[in-house]
Protein backbone atom coordinates (compact mmCIF):
# COMPACT_ATOMS: atom_id res chain seq x y z
CA UNK A 1 0.00 0.00 0.00
CA UNK A 2 2.81 2.39 0.96
CA UNK A 3 4.62 1.36 -2.22
CA UNK A 4 1.57 2.20 -4.32
CA UNK A 5 1.27 5.59 -2.66
CA UNK A 6 4.95 6.27 -3.31
CA UNK A 7 4.65 5.32 -6.97
CA UNK A 8 1.58 7.50 -7.33
CA UNK A 9 3.21 10.49 -5.62
CA UNK A 10 6.39 10.11 -7.69
CA UNK A 11 4.36 9.90 -10.90
CA UNK A 12 2.43 13.03 -10.00
CA UNK A 13 5.63 15.00 -9.30
CA UNK A 14 7.30 13.78 -12.50
CA UNK A 15 4.18 14.50 -14.55
CA UNK A 16 3.88 17.99 -13.08
CA UNK A 17 7.50 18.91 -13.81
CA UNK A 18 7.28 17.37 -17.28
CA UNK A 19 4.03 19.07 -18.26
CA UNK A 20 5.37 22.39 -17.06
CA UNK A 21 8.45 21.87 -19.19
CA UNK A 22 6.35 20.94 -22.23
CA UNK A 23 4.29 24.06 -21.73
CA UNK A 24 7.37 26.26 -21.47
CA UNK A 25 8.85 24.69 -24.58
CA UNK A 26 5.60 24.38 -26.51
CA UNK A 27 6.99 26.09 -29.61
CA UNK A 28 10.16 24.07 -29.58
CA UNK A 29 8.98 20.49 -29.56
CA UNK A 30 10.03 18.23 -32.40
CA UNK A 31 8.78 15.01 -33.86
CA UNK A 32 12.36 13.84 -34.13
CA UNK A 33 15.84 15.27 -33.80
CA UNK A 34 16.76 17.02 -37.03
CA UNK A 35 20.03 15.20 -37.46
CA UNK A 36 18.09 11.93 -37.40
CA UNK A 37 16.08 13.13 -40.39
CA UNK A 38 19.10 12.50 -42.60
CA UNK A 39 18.84 8.85 -41.84
CA UNK A 40 16.05 8.13 -44.25
CA UNK A 41 12.42 7.31 -44.64
CA UNK A 42 11.18 8.42 -41.25
CA UNK A 43 12.00 12.00 -42.13
CA UNK A 44 9.41 14.61 -41.31
CA UNK A 45 8.68 17.41 -43.72
CA UNK A 46 9.75 20.56 -41.92
CA UNK A 47 9.15 23.01 -44.69
CA UNK A 48 6.99 25.99 -43.97
CA UNK A 49 4.85 27.21 -46.85
CA UNK A 50 5.88 30.87 -46.58
CA UNK A 51 9.51 29.91 -46.77
CA UNK A 52 8.94 27.73 -49.78
CA UNK A 53 7.76 30.78 -51.64
CA UNK A 54 11.10 32.48 -51.15
CA UNK A 55 12.86 30.05 -53.32
CA UNK A 56 10.23 29.13 -55.83
CA UNK A 57 10.74 29.82 -59.49
CA UNK A 58 12.69 28.43 -62.34
CA UNK A 59 16.16 27.07 -61.92
CA UNK A 60 17.25 29.19 -64.85
CA UNK A 61 19.36 32.20 -64.01
CA UNK A 62 17.14 35.21 -63.72
CA UNK A 63 17.82 38.58 -62.32
CA UNK A 64 15.86 41.17 -60.40
CA UNK A 65 16.57 43.98 -58.01
CA UNK A 66 15.02 44.66 -54.62
CA UNK A 67 15.79 45.90 -51.14
CA UNK A 68 16.92 43.39 -48.61
CA UNK A 69 16.74 43.64 -44.83
CA UNK A 70 19.60 42.60 -42.59
CA UNK A 71 19.36 39.16 -40.98
CA UNK A 72 21.27 37.36 -38.24
CA UNK A 73 23.14 34.32 -39.42
CA UNK A 74 24.80 31.81 -37.12
CA UNK A 75 26.97 29.08 -38.52
CA UNK A 76 30.46 27.88 -39.31
CA UNK A 77 33.12 30.26 -40.55
CA UNK A 78 35.79 29.81 -43.23
CA UNK A 79 38.32 31.98 -45.01
CA UNK A 80 38.21 31.53 -48.76
CA UNK A 81 41.08 32.03 -51.15
CA UNK A 82 39.54 33.52 -54.30
CA UNK A 83 42.70 33.50 -56.43
CA UNK A 84 42.93 29.75 -56.64
CA UNK A 85 39.68 28.20 -57.92
CA UNK A 86 40.69 24.66 -56.90
CA UNK A 87 41.65 25.75 -53.41
CA UNK A 88 38.61 27.94 -52.93
CA UNK A 89 36.30 25.17 -54.06
CA UNK A 90 37.79 22.78 -51.50
CA UNK A 91 37.59 25.45 -48.80
CA UNK A 92 33.91 26.03 -49.55
CA UNK A 93 33.22 22.31 -49.65
CA UNK A 94 34.91 21.73 -46.33
CA UNK A 95 32.89 24.58 -44.81
CA UNK A 96 29.68 22.93 -46.07
CA UNK A 97 30.93 19.68 -44.58
CA UNK A 98 31.46 21.29 -41.17
CA UNK A 99 28.07 22.95 -41.43
CA UNK A 100 26.29 19.69 -42.21
CA UNK A 101 28.04 17.92 -39.35
CA UNK A 102 27.20 20.55 -36.75
CA UNK A 103 24.36 18.77 -34.99
CA UNK A 104 23.90 21.45 -32.36
CA UNK A 105 23.23 24.02 -35.06
CA UNK A 106 20.70 21.87 -36.89
CA UNK A 107 18.92 21.06 -33.70
CA UNK A 108 18.83 24.70 -32.66
CA UNK A 109 17.29 25.86 -35.89
CA UNK A 110 14.79 23.07 -36.09
CA UNK A 111 12.86 24.08 -33.03
CA UNK A 112 13.40 27.77 -32.75
CA UNK A 113 12.47 28.96 -36.20
CA UNK A 114 11.50 25.92 -38.17
CA UNK A 115 13.61 27.42 -40.90
CA UNK A 116 15.04 25.05 -43.42
CA UNK A 117 17.00 27.58 -45.39
CA UNK A 118 20.74 27.46 -45.13
CA UNK A 119 22.61 30.68 -45.83
CA UNK A 120 26.08 30.96 -47.28
CA UNK A 121 27.23 34.52 -46.71
CA UNK A 122 30.37 35.71 -48.48
CA UNK A 123 31.63 38.96 -47.05
CA UNK A 124 34.73 40.79 -45.96
CA UNK A 125 36.31 40.68 -49.43
CA UNK A 126 39.90 41.84 -49.38
CA UNK A 127 40.79 44.94 -51.37
CA UNK A 128 42.42 42.96 -54.13
CA UNK A 129 39.47 40.53 -54.12
CA UNK A 130 41.82 37.65 -53.32
CA UNK A 131 40.19 36.49 -50.08
CA UNK A 132 36.73 36.48 -48.57
CA UNK A 133 35.12 35.27 -45.44
CA UNK A 134 32.32 32.76 -45.65
CA UNK A 135 29.76 31.87 -43.01
CA UNK A 136 27.37 28.99 -43.63
CA UNK A 137 24.49 28.79 -41.24
CA UNK A 138 20.89 29.56 -40.43
CA UNK A 139 18.90 32.66 -39.66
CA UNK A 140 19.08 32.22 -35.93
CA UNK A 141 21.07 33.46 -32.99
CA UNK A 142 22.37 30.66 -30.84
CA UNK A 143 25.58 29.71 -29.10
CA UNK A 144 27.78 26.71 -29.46
CA UNK A 145 31.37 25.81 -30.00
CA UNK A 146 32.61 26.48 -33.50
CA UNK A 147 29.69 28.80 -34.23
CA UNK A 148 29.88 32.41 -35.33
CA UNK A 149 27.11 34.93 -35.61
CA UNK A 150 27.00 37.75 -38.09
CA UNK A 151 24.57 40.43 -39.13
CA UNK A 152 24.17 40.50 -42.88
CA UNK A 153 24.24 43.79 -44.71
CA UNK A 154 21.02 45.35 -45.85
CA UNK A 155 20.64 47.21 -49.09
CA UNK A 156 19.80 46.85 -52.74
CA UNK A 157 20.64 43.51 -54.18
CA UNK A 158 20.41 41.50 -57.37
CA UNK A 159 18.64 38.18 -57.16
CA UNK A 160 19.99 35.19 -59.04
CA UNK A 161 18.00 31.98 -59.23
CA UNK A 162 20.57 29.27 -59.21
CA UNK A 163 20.43 26.02 -61.12
CA UNK A 164 20.74 22.52 -59.79
CA UNK A 165 24.49 22.89 -59.39
CA UNK A 166 23.91 25.98 -57.20
CA UNK A 167 26.83 27.51 -59.05
CA UNK A 168 27.05 31.27 -58.82
CA UNK A 169 27.56 32.90 -62.25
CA UNK A 170 30.78 34.87 -62.75
CA UNK A 171 28.97 38.14 -63.16
CA UNK A 172 27.50 37.72 -59.70
CA UNK A 173 31.03 37.69 -58.33
CA UNK A 174 32.09 40.70 -60.33
CA UNK A 175 29.05 42.67 -59.26
CA UNK A 176 29.96 42.06 -55.64
CA UNK A 177 33.32 43.68 -56.30
CA UNK A 178 34.84 45.60 -54.52
CA UNK A 179 32.96 45.82 -51.22
CA UNK A 180 29.70 43.98 -51.70
CA UNK A 181 28.48 40.76 -50.18
CA UNK A 182 26.94 37.61 -51.55
CA UNK A 183 24.18 35.83 -49.73
CA UNK A 184 23.28 32.39 -51.05
CA UNK A 185 20.06 30.81 -49.84
CA UNK A 186 19.66 27.07 -50.12
CA UNK A 187 16.46 25.32 -49.25
CA UNK A 188 17.21 22.05 -47.48
CA UNK A 189 14.81 19.16 -47.95
CA UNK A 190 13.68 16.87 -45.18
CA UNK A 191 16.18 14.33 -46.44
CA UNK A 192 18.98 16.83 -46.06
CA UNK A 193 19.59 17.71 -49.70
CA UNK A 194 19.37 21.12 -51.31
CA UNK A 195 16.20 21.46 -53.37
CA UNK A 196 16.48 25.07 -54.54
CA UNK A 197 18.98 27.87 -54.34
CA UNK A 198 19.26 31.53 -55.09
CA UNK A 199 21.75 34.23 -54.37
CA UNK A 200 21.49 37.85 -53.35
CA UNK A 201 24.33 40.05 -54.35
CA UNK A 202 24.55 43.33 -52.52
CA UNK A 203 26.77 45.87 -54.20
Amino acid sequence: MTMLRHILLTSIIVAAVYLLLLWVNQDGLLQQPVWAADQGDTAVEQTRPEQQEDLQGSTVETESVATFESITITGVLADIDLNDPVLSRSQVESAWQRFSEHQGLHRAVSWSTGSNIAYAYYHHFSNDFSTARLIIGYQISTTGSGLHTIQSESGNYRLYQLGASAELPDDAWTSAYPDGVILERHRIDSNGSVSASDALVIQ
Binding site: T2, V17, Q31, T142, G144
Partner: protein, 296 residues
Protein backbone atom coordinates in the same frame (compact mmCIF):
# COMPACT_ATOMS: atom_id res chain seq x y z
CA UNK B 1 14.37 35.59 -20.57
CA UNK B 2 15.68 34.70 -24.01
CA UNK B 3 18.75 33.02 -22.59
CA UNK B 4 16.52 30.40 -20.99
CA UNK B 5 15.48 29.34 -24.48
CA UNK B 6 18.88 29.57 -26.04
CA UNK B 7 19.85 26.20 -27.43
CA UNK B 8 22.82 24.52 -25.81
CA UNK B 9 24.52 22.71 -28.66
CA UNK B 10 25.89 19.22 -28.13
CA UNK B 11 29.42 20.57 -28.28
CA UNK B 12 28.60 23.19 -25.67
CA UNK B 13 26.90 20.62 -23.43
CA UNK B 14 29.97 18.41 -23.61
CA UNK B 15 32.19 21.37 -22.86
CA UNK B 16 29.99 22.47 -19.93
CA UNK B 17 29.90 18.91 -18.59
CA UNK B 18 33.68 18.69 -18.52
CA UNK B 19 33.97 22.21 -17.12
CA UNK B 20 31.62 21.59 -14.17
CA UNK B 21 33.05 18.14 -13.57
CA UNK B 22 36.66 19.37 -13.52
CA UNK B 23 35.96 22.34 -11.28
CA UNK B 24 33.89 20.12 -9.01
CA UNK B 25 36.92 17.89 -8.61
CA UNK B 26 39.15 20.88 -7.83
CA UNK B 27 36.69 22.19 -5.22
CA UNK B 28 36.33 18.74 -3.67
CA UNK B 29 40.12 18.42 -3.55
CA UNK B 30 40.40 21.79 -1.81
CA UNK B 31 37.82 20.78 0.78
CA UNK B 32 39.73 17.55 1.39
CA UNK B 33 42.94 19.50 1.97
CA UNK B 34 41.12 21.79 4.37
CA UNK B 35 39.72 18.78 6.20
CA UNK B 36 43.16 17.22 6.54
CA UNK B 37 44.56 20.53 7.73
CA UNK B 38 41.87 20.85 10.41
CA UNK B 39 42.48 17.25 11.48
CA UNK B 40 46.20 18.02 11.56
CA UNK B 41 45.66 21.00 13.86
CA UNK B 42 43.71 18.76 16.22
CA UNK B 43 46.41 16.08 15.84
CA UNK B 44 43.85 13.61 14.51
CA UNK B 45 45.61 12.64 11.31
CA UNK B 46 46.30 8.95 11.81
CA UNK B 47 47.70 6.29 9.53
CA UNK B 48 44.17 4.90 9.26
CA UNK B 49 42.57 8.16 8.17
CA UNK B 50 45.17 8.63 5.46
CA UNK B 51 45.13 4.95 4.45
CA UNK B 52 41.35 5.08 4.21
CA UNK B 53 41.47 8.20 2.03
CA UNK B 54 44.06 6.63 -0.27
CA UNK B 55 42.00 3.44 -0.47
CA UNK B 56 38.96 5.54 -1.37
CA UNK B 57 40.69 7.02 -4.38
CA UNK B 58 41.96 3.59 -5.44
CA UNK B 59 38.38 2.26 -5.41
CA UNK B 60 37.56 5.29 -7.58
CA UNK B 61 40.25 4.15 -10.03
CA UNK B 62 38.84 0.63 -10.15
CA UNK B 63 35.31 2.01 -10.53
CA UNK B 64 36.41 4.18 -13.46
CA UNK B 65 38.19 1.22 -15.05
CA UNK B 66 35.06 -0.93 -14.88
CA UNK B 67 32.92 1.93 -16.13
CA UNK B 68 35.21 2.64 -19.04
CA UNK B 69 35.60 -0.94 -20.15
CA UNK B 70 32.23 -2.49 -19.37
CA UNK B 71 29.47 -0.14 -18.40
CA UNK B 72 30.17 3.20 -20.05
CA UNK B 73 29.67 2.37 -23.72
CA UNK B 74 26.60 0.27 -23.05
CA UNK B 75 25.14 2.98 -20.83
CA UNK B 76 25.55 5.72 -23.41
CA UNK B 77 24.40 3.51 -26.30
CA UNK B 78 21.26 2.49 -24.45
CA UNK B 79 20.33 6.10 -23.69
CA UNK B 80 20.71 7.11 -27.33
CA UNK B 81 18.85 4.01 -28.52
CA UNK B 82 15.87 4.78 -26.30
CA UNK B 83 16.03 8.49 -27.14
CA UNK B 84 16.13 7.99 -30.90
CA UNK B 85 13.60 5.19 -31.11
CA UNK B 86 11.09 5.66 -28.33
CA UNK B 87 11.17 9.27 -27.12
CA UNK B 88 7.68 10.72 -26.76
CA UNK B 89 8.87 14.06 -28.10
CA UNK B 90 12.23 15.79 -28.55
CA UNK B 91 12.85 18.50 -26.01
CA UNK B 92 15.06 21.40 -27.06
CA UNK B 93 18.25 21.43 -25.01
CA UNK B 94 17.92 24.78 -23.29
CA UNK B 95 18.25 25.96 -19.69
CA UNK B 96 14.57 25.28 -18.91
CA UNK B 97 15.07 21.71 -20.01
CA UNK B 98 18.31 21.36 -18.07
CA UNK B 99 16.77 22.62 -14.82
CA UNK B 100 13.74 20.34 -15.19
CA UNK B 101 16.03 17.43 -16.00
CA UNK B 102 18.08 18.07 -12.84
CA UNK B 103 14.91 17.98 -10.73
CA UNK B 104 13.76 14.75 -12.38
CA UNK B 105 17.23 13.22 -12.20
CA UNK B 106 17.24 14.11 -8.50
CA UNK B 107 14.01 12.27 -7.79
CA UNK B 108 15.31 9.35 -9.87
CA UNK B 109 18.47 9.46 -7.78
CA UNK B 110 16.40 9.29 -4.60
CA UNK B 111 14.71 6.07 -5.74
CA UNK B 112 17.89 4.57 -7.09
CA UNK B 113 19.63 5.30 -3.80
CA UNK B 114 16.76 3.83 -1.80
CA UNK B 115 16.83 0.79 -4.08
CA UNK B 116 20.54 0.08 -3.55
CA UNK B 117 20.02 0.31 0.20
CA UNK B 118 17.02 -2.00 0.28
CA UNK B 119 17.91 -4.69 -2.27
CA UNK B 120 20.66 -7.23 -1.54
CA UNK B 121 22.59 -7.06 -4.82
CA UNK B 122 22.36 -3.27 -4.84
CA UNK B 123 23.59 -2.97 -1.28
CA UNK B 124 26.54 -5.27 -2.08
CA UNK B 125 28.01 -2.57 -4.33
CA UNK B 126 26.77 0.52 -2.48
CA UNK B 127 27.92 -0.81 0.91
CA UNK B 128 31.48 -0.10 -0.25
CA UNK B 129 30.68 3.61 -0.16
CA UNK B 130 29.21 3.26 3.33
CA UNK B 131 31.98 1.09 4.76
CA UNK B 132 34.38 3.88 5.67
CA UNK B 133 34.46 4.60 9.42
CA UNK B 134 35.37 8.20 8.52
CA UNK B 135 33.47 11.00 6.88
CA UNK B 136 35.39 13.32 4.61
CA UNK B 137 35.34 14.26 0.93
CA UNK B 138 37.45 11.27 -0.03
CA UNK B 139 34.61 8.99 1.09
CA UNK B 140 32.49 10.46 -1.72
CA UNK B 141 34.93 8.83 -4.13
CA UNK B 142 34.71 5.43 -2.50
CA UNK B 143 32.81 3.36 -5.04
CA UNK B 144 31.68 -0.23 -5.40
CA UNK B 145 32.17 -2.31 -8.56
CA UNK B 146 28.64 -1.95 -9.99
CA UNK B 147 27.81 1.53 -8.76
CA UNK B 148 27.87 2.72 -12.37
CA UNK B 149 25.15 0.29 -13.40
CA UNK B 150 22.57 1.01 -10.73
CA UNK B 151 21.33 4.39 -12.05
CA UNK B 152 20.43 2.88 -15.44
CA UNK B 153 16.84 1.72 -14.88
CA UNK B 154 16.03 4.82 -12.86
CA UNK B 155 17.41 7.40 -15.29
CA UNK B 156 16.64 5.73 -18.62
CA UNK B 157 12.99 6.90 -18.53
CA UNK B 158 14.33 10.45 -18.92
CA UNK B 159 15.47 9.55 -22.45
CA UNK B 160 11.96 8.24 -23.08
CA UNK B 161 10.57 11.63 -22.04
CA UNK B 162 12.70 13.22 -24.74
CA UNK B 163 15.66 14.71 -22.89
CA UNK B 164 18.83 14.83 -24.95
CA UNK B 165 21.10 12.15 -23.41
CA UNK B 166 23.82 14.78 -22.99
CA UNK B 167 21.41 16.82 -20.85
CA UNK B 168 20.62 13.70 -18.81
CA UNK B 169 24.30 12.86 -18.28
CA UNK B 170 24.99 16.42 -17.23
CA UNK B 171 22.06 16.38 -14.77
CA UNK B 172 23.27 13.09 -13.30
CA UNK B 173 26.74 14.57 -12.94
CA UNK B 174 25.40 17.70 -11.21
CA UNK B 175 23.36 15.64 -8.71
CA UNK B 176 26.40 13.43 -8.09
CA UNK B 177 28.70 16.43 -7.67
CA UNK B 178 26.29 18.12 -5.26
CA UNK B 179 26.23 14.89 -3.26
CA UNK B 180 30.01 14.64 -3.32
CA UNK B 181 30.43 18.02 -1.65
CA UNK B 182 28.20 16.97 1.26
CA UNK B 183 30.71 14.42 2.55
CA UNK B 184 32.29 16.64 5.17
CA UNK B 185 32.27 17.38 8.88
CA UNK B 186 33.69 20.84 8.29
CA UNK B 187 30.22 22.28 7.73
CA UNK B 188 27.85 22.14 10.70
CA UNK B 189 24.21 22.95 10.22
CA UNK B 190 23.16 25.48 7.60
CA UNK B 191 20.37 28.08 8.01
CA UNK B 192 16.96 26.51 8.67
CA UNK B 193 15.37 27.26 5.27
CA UNK B 194 18.32 25.63 3.51
CA UNK B 195 18.20 22.56 5.74
CA UNK B 196 14.46 22.35 5.12
CA UNK B 197 14.66 22.17 1.33
CA UNK B 198 18.13 21.00 0.40
CA UNK B 199 20.26 18.06 1.29
CA UNK B 200 23.12 19.29 3.48
CA UNK B 201 26.28 17.86 5.06
CA UNK B 202 24.28 17.42 8.28
CA UNK B 203 21.54 15.42 6.53
CA UNK B 204 24.08 13.33 4.71
CA UNK B 205 26.08 12.57 7.85
CA UNK B 206 22.88 10.99 9.13
CA UNK B 207 22.72 8.92 5.95
CA UNK B 208 26.18 7.53 6.67
CA UNK B 209 25.39 6.74 10.30
CA UNK B 210 25.25 3.20 11.64
CA UNK B 211 23.29 4.40 14.70
CA UNK B 212 20.01 2.45 14.62
CA UNK B 213 17.87 5.57 14.21
CA UNK B 214 20.02 6.74 11.27
CA UNK B 215 19.97 3.56 9.18
CA UNK B 216 18.26 3.88 5.76
CA UNK B 217 17.55 7.56 6.20
CA UNK B 218 18.15 10.66 4.03
CA UNK B 219 18.62 9.14 0.58
CA UNK B 220 18.35 12.53 -1.11
CA UNK B 221 20.63 13.92 -3.77
CA UNK B 222 20.01 17.66 -3.98
CA UNK B 223 16.55 18.09 -2.47
CA UNK B 224 15.86 16.65 0.99
CA UNK B 225 12.13 17.15 0.36
CA UNK B 226 11.93 13.70 -1.29
CA UNK B 227 12.90 12.06 2.02
CA UNK B 228 10.28 14.12 3.82
CA UNK B 229 7.66 13.13 1.24
CA UNK B 230 8.50 9.45 1.25
CA UNK B 231 9.03 9.02 4.98
CA UNK B 232 12.78 8.48 5.18
CA UNK B 233 13.89 11.77 6.73
CA UNK B 234 15.86 11.97 9.98
CA UNK B 235 17.37 15.00 11.67
CA UNK B 236 21.00 14.90 12.91
CA UNK B 237 20.79 14.71 16.72
CA UNK B 238 23.04 12.09 18.33
CA UNK B 239 26.71 11.98 17.29
CA UNK B 240 26.99 9.96 14.11
CA UNK B 241 28.87 6.65 14.19
CA UNK B 242 30.01 6.21 10.61
CA UNK B 243 30.26 2.96 8.71
CA UNK B 244 28.33 -0.25 8.28
CA UNK B 245 26.94 -2.31 11.14
CA UNK B 246 29.50 -5.06 10.50
CA UNK B 247 32.70 -3.03 9.91
CA UNK B 248 35.24 -3.95 7.24
CA UNK B 249 38.26 -3.02 9.38
CA UNK B 250 40.70 -2.68 6.51
CA UNK B 251 42.30 -0.06 4.33
CA UNK B 252 43.14 -2.61 1.64
CA UNK B 253 41.39 -1.17 -1.43
CA UNK B 254 40.84 -4.56 -3.07
CA UNK B 255 39.19 -5.97 0.05
CA UNK B 256 37.10 -2.83 0.40
CA UNK B 257 36.06 -2.82 -3.27
CA UNK B 258 34.81 -6.41 -3.27
CA UNK B 259 33.71 -6.92 0.34
CA UNK B 260 30.01 -6.31 -0.41
CA UNK B 261 29.76 -8.93 -3.14
CA UNK B 262 32.07 -11.21 -1.13
CA UNK B 263 29.67 -11.18 1.81
CA UNK B 264 26.61 -11.45 -0.46
CA UNK B 265 27.84 -14.46 -2.44
CA UNK B 266 28.95 -16.23 0.72
CA UNK B 267 25.36 -16.00 1.95
CA UNK B 268 23.87 -16.90 -1.45
CA UNK B 269 25.98 -20.03 -1.84
CA UNK B 270 25.35 -21.09 1.74
CA UNK B 271 21.59 -20.80 1.28
CA UNK B 272 19.73 -24.08 1.60
CA UNK B 273 17.11 -23.30 -1.03
CA UNK B 274 16.83 -21.42 -4.27
CA UNK B 275 14.27 -19.20 -2.61
CA UNK B 276 16.75 -18.42 0.12
CA UNK B 277 19.51 -17.64 -2.39
CA UNK B 278 17.20 -15.41 -4.38
CA UNK B 279 16.03 -13.75 -1.20
CA UNK B 280 19.58 -12.68 -0.35
CA UNK B 281 19.87 -11.10 -3.79
CA UNK B 282 16.65 -9.13 -3.84
CA UNK B 283 15.55 -8.70 -0.22
CA UNK B 284 16.90 -5.96 2.07
CA UNK B 285 20.45 -6.47 3.46
CA UNK B 286 19.50 -7.81 6.91
CA UNK B 287 17.12 -10.42 5.50
CA UNK B 288 17.39 -14.15 6.30
CA UNK B 289 15.23 -17.06 5.13
CA UNK B 290 12.54 -18.10 7.64
CA UNK B 291 14.38 -21.31 8.63
CA UNK B 292 17.49 -19.35 9.50
CA UNK B 293 15.54 -16.72 11.35
CA UNK B 294 14.21 -19.26 13.84
CA UNK B 295 17.74 -20.56 14.40
CA UNK B 296 19.05 -17.30 15.58
Amino acid sequence: MDYLYQILSDEYLEYLHRFIDDWGFVIAGSILLLELLLLGVRKLVTKNVLGDAVANFITLGMFIAINTVLIGVMYVTLFYWVYLNFALVYLPSNLWTLVACIVLADIAYYWEHRFVHRVGFGWATHAVHHSSPYFNISVAYRFGPLDGLMPLPFHLPLALLGFNPLVIFMSEMIVQLYQTLLHTEVVGKLPKPVEAVFNTPSHHRVHHGSNPEYIDKNYAGIFIIWDKMFGTFEQEKAKVIYGVTTPVNTVNPLKIFFFGYGRLFKKVFAAKSLKGALGYLIKPPGWHPADKMTEG
